[in-house]
């Protein structure tokens, strides 16, 4: 071990309690940071997945303006061939065409206004979790069959079950009267009543006939294999669009602008808190190092009288801090990883969170996501601020006058 290093190491343990308390502050903050950041990333991941996979998908091809207004007339013409082309060119089956309309759904007893989604029964299960939620009966089969799949809450309210008839009344693409009689073949249950009550799905062929769509639909949903490939796929899809009609491709961020912003809003408040935590640790370090320097004035005086430069003494103080910081970093990251790993298996939940989570279509437990990044970011910033805090005590060396320093006790 080199001499300066050994000196720094020994100096640290002259006051073991103080060193441990200061390191303790770092370890505490690091554990907290690792856990919180992993938890946040876990939550964001689930938020994005749940929101997008329920319905939205990663990309959608739409008519310009449809995203904001969702008017019946803002259509994608010849939507099935377009979906087929995208499917073939991207070599990805997770592409599905949809149409959306609003209608009054009436059973013998009740009527409710709902959104009617026309879907491709073959491909819809690959882009949406709704088909997987079918609890009674089955999902849609044939492309033009007169079938419908409705939510559990709606079925309860309409007082119908699998096999019963439902009348749909609405207006068609051209504003004319649209009506259809369909048989309920399946009931899906997401557990969120408002969601289940808000829409029903019918085959796209029937949808086109009923609402006089003439081969048009409203959106082609594309799910990429990985959320990171969205940008690349978007460019690819854009090149596949027909030239004879104006269409746009929206990525999930444009489709659900709230999602990224909700994450951003949450992140900024979290960063404020982390910032405060780091600053408090820095103060702790500043205090400790300043005290340790002031205590040793006499000793530093001797060292300087013997010919050591203030610069070298300053480096010694910085080195002590660096060792202490490294200790805090390693212990903090390790313990943080340990604590967080336990929660990645068992999940994390606070009382009341389930009700809140349900509102955003989230599970009541969050599983933190540990990665190299979440392990290192927090502790690294704490380390950086630790070193910054040591600058003032270290540069005090330059103000030291050997003779005066020798006199002080």
């Amino acid at each position: 071990m080199n001499l300066v290093l050994r000196l720094a190491w020994r100096n640290l343990w002259r006051q073991p309690r103080r060193t441990w308390l200061t390191t303790g502050a770092m370890v505490f903050s690091n554990i907290l940071l690792v856990f919180m950041i992993s938890l946040q990333f876990g939550m964001y991941g689930v938020m994005i997945d749940n929101t997008l996979q329920t319905f939205t998908g990663h990309l959608q091809v739409q008519a310009p303006g449809y995203k904001d207004d969702q008017k019946m007339r803002q259509v994608v013409e010849d939507i099935r061939p377009l979906a087929a082309t995208i499917r073939a060119e991207l070599n990805n089956d997770r592409v599905a065409a949809r149409g959306t309309a609003f209608a009054l759904a009436s059973s013998d007893d009740r009527s409710y206004g709902i959104a009617i989604i026309g879907v491709e029964p073959e491909f819809e299960p690959l882009v949406s979790t709704v088909p997987g939620l079918v609890r009674d009966g089955r999902y849609l089969g044939a492309y033009a069959a007169e079938e419908i799949v409705i939510g559990a809450a709606l079925a309860r309210n309409l007082r119908i079950g699998v096999g019963d008839e439902l009348t749909l009344l609405g207006s068609a693409r051209d504003g004319s009267f649209a009506a259809a009689i369909v048989i309920v073949v399946g009931i899906f249950d997401s557990g969120v009543n408002d969601f289940d009550r808000s829409f029903a799905e019918i085959p796209l062929g029937l949808f086109e006939d009923t609402f006089f769509m003439q081969g048009a639909g409203h959106q082609v949903v594309v799910n990429t294999t990985d959320i990171d490939q969205v940008a690349a796929s978007k460019t690819q899809v854009e090149q596949l669009l027909p030239h004879d009609q104006a269409l746009v491709v929206h990525d999930w961020d444009a489709l659900q602008p709230g999602l990224k912003q909700a994450i951003k809003a949450d992140m900024s408040s979290a960063f404020f808190m982390y910032g405060i935590l780091v600053i408090l640790v820095a103060f702790s370090v500043l205090n400790t190092q300043l005290m340790s320097v002031l205590e040793r004035t006499h000793e530093f005086g001797i060292a300087m009288a013997l010919g050591l430069t203030p610069w070298r003494l300053g480096r010694l103080v910085l080195l002590e801090t660096a060792i202490m910081g490294a200790l805090g970093l390693v212990l903090g990251a390790l313990l943080g990883a340990l604590v967080t790993s336990w929660f990645t298996v068992n999940g994390f939940s606070v009382p009341g969170m389930e009700e809140m989570a349900a509102k955003f279509n989230l599970p009541g437990r969050v599983f933190p996501r540990v990665s190299m990044l979440t392990l290192i970011v927090g502790p690294a910033i704490v380390y950086l601020f630790t070193m910054l805090a040591a600058v003032y005590p270290a540069q005090r060396m330059h103000r030291l006058q050997p003779v005066e320093a020798l006199r002080s006790l």
């Binding site: 308390l21 008017k71 609003f102 206004g113 009344l169 709230g258 999602l259 702790s284 300043l290």
Partner: protein, 410 residues
């Protein structure tokens, strides 16, 4: 005893300033910590209040009365068994801060361009002025004028989707209790905006009498809501409401009606307490460190005091008082700074950059911080109490010194 206490305080105060650098740094940390605690708490409190008030205004009311089936099946078939006029007789004299009965049914609205599913509210506009989320003065066109007003008021977003505007006609379609289609044409007389954009899509207001006629339900209504004096304490309004209704109805408080809103207050209170404790813990390492150092430097002096007959309990008290004084000064300055930091943003911070995201959480894009005495006291008391416990160990250690050993210690 009083004299002793006075000496204790004076000693602690003077000791605090013997190493002014250390004390200043520690104070700095406490001030920043306190500032962050209270500032953050005020922002969070403001946010929660905003969400709660918006949510409660949308419900609306603090207490609601429905047919027992209505919540799960909000249909025209599940009306209140008590007629509107009977409700009026009973509730007018009850001395409640506010109440109103309304018809609430799902409906389809159709313009010549498009149709949408909505919630149709048949209301007595004058009667519920100021009780719901709609500001009548801010409406484009006009708001409803009477219970038999033949116009409707729709949200801004819905107006755009339907391609309609003030003066144009739309058709509303719903069902009557016999499940026959009930429909009627209306003229749009007003367009409202709401801080939560989903409301602009969802609600359509029409005259109560007009809707009752359209749905062929005579003098019946779907729900009654009551506004009490304070949403934090609705028991009084709840009791009164329960005593005024009878028969096949269910009376619920706002936190039963909306589990999300109900859990919000709890979750946020929990979060704020955790935040305060976390900050304190981060501070406590420095605090204990400072005390340990202060005791360590004064070993000989403490030994001398013990030798001269000062009781160990007085040494203990002296260190604890020193620590609490340090905390109290830091807390005072920090609280003041937090208050000062809130002054320039008292009227709200514009967060519209992330407006859509806040919309998702049910928040409007202007955040008005709310500094409540309760939260300030909670933060200060928590820190003082925890600070007391954190100082126990170094103080205890100091009071247990052997006088002889301590005096001879170099």
């Amino acid at each position: 005893m009083n004299l002793q206490l006075a000496i204790l305080f004076r000693l602690a105060w003077r000791n605090l300033w013997r190493n002014h650098r250390r004390t200043a740094i520690m104070l700095g940390a406490i001030v920043i910590g306190t500032w962050a605690m209270i500032f953050m708490t005020a922002l969070t409190r403001g946010m929660v209040t905003d969400v709660l008030e918006d949510g409660i205004n949308a419900l609306p009311g603090h207490v609601q009365v429905h047919h027992p089936e209505f919540r799960d099946d909000p249909s025209v078939a599940n009306l209140l068994p008590i007629t509107d006029s009977e409700l009026t007789t009973r509730f007018s004299a009850a001395g409640l801060a506010g109440w109103a009965a309304r018809v609430r049914v799902p409906a389809i609205v159709t313009s010549e361009y498009d149709s949408r599913g909505v919630t149709l509210l048949g209301i007595d506009a004058e009667h519920e002025r100021g009780l719901t989320f709609v500001d009548y003065e801010e409406v484009d066109g006009r708001f409803l004028e009477s219970v038999d007003d033949t116009g409707i008021v729709i949200g801004r977003k819905l107006a755009r989707t339907l391609n309609t505007e003030v003066g144009k006609r739309v058709v509303l379609m719903s069902q009557d209790p016999d499940n026959d289609i009930a429909d009627r044409g209306f003229r749009v007389v007003g367009v409202f905006s709401a801080s939560v954009s989903a409301f602009e899509d969802q609600f359509i207001f029409a005259g109560k009498k007009t809707v009752q006629d359209m749905l062929r339900i005579g003098d019946q209504v779907s729900e009654l809501f009551v506004v009490g004096d304070d949403y934090r304490n609705v028991e009084d309004a709840f009791e009164k409401t329960v005593s005024l209704v009878d028969g096949n109805v269910i009376v619920q408080r706002w936190y039963d009606l909306d589990a999300y809103l109900g859990s919000m207050l709890k979750v946020m209170d929990g979060f704020m307490f955790i935040w305060i404790v976390v900050i304190f813990l981060a501070l406590s390492f420095g605090l204990v460190n400072t005390l340990v150092m202060a005791v360590f430097e004064r070993v000989r002096e403490i030994g001398l005091m013990l030798a001269l007959g000062m009781r160990p309990s007085n040494i203990l008290g002296q260190i604890i008082v020193e620590s609490l004084m340090l905390l109290a000064i830091g807390l005072g300055v920090g609280t003041f700074l937090a208050w000062a930091a809130i002054q320039p943003i008292k009227d709200g911070i514009d967060l519209s950059i992330v407006g859509d995201g806040l919309d998702m959480w049910g928040m409007s894009s202007v955040l008005v911080p709310q500094l409540t005495l309760n939260d300030v006291v909670l933060a200060n008391v928590t820190v003082l109490v925890l600070g007391f416990f954190a100082s126990l160990s170094p103080a205890w250690r100091a009071s247990r010194y052997e006088p002889i050993e301590a005096i001879t210690k170099v």
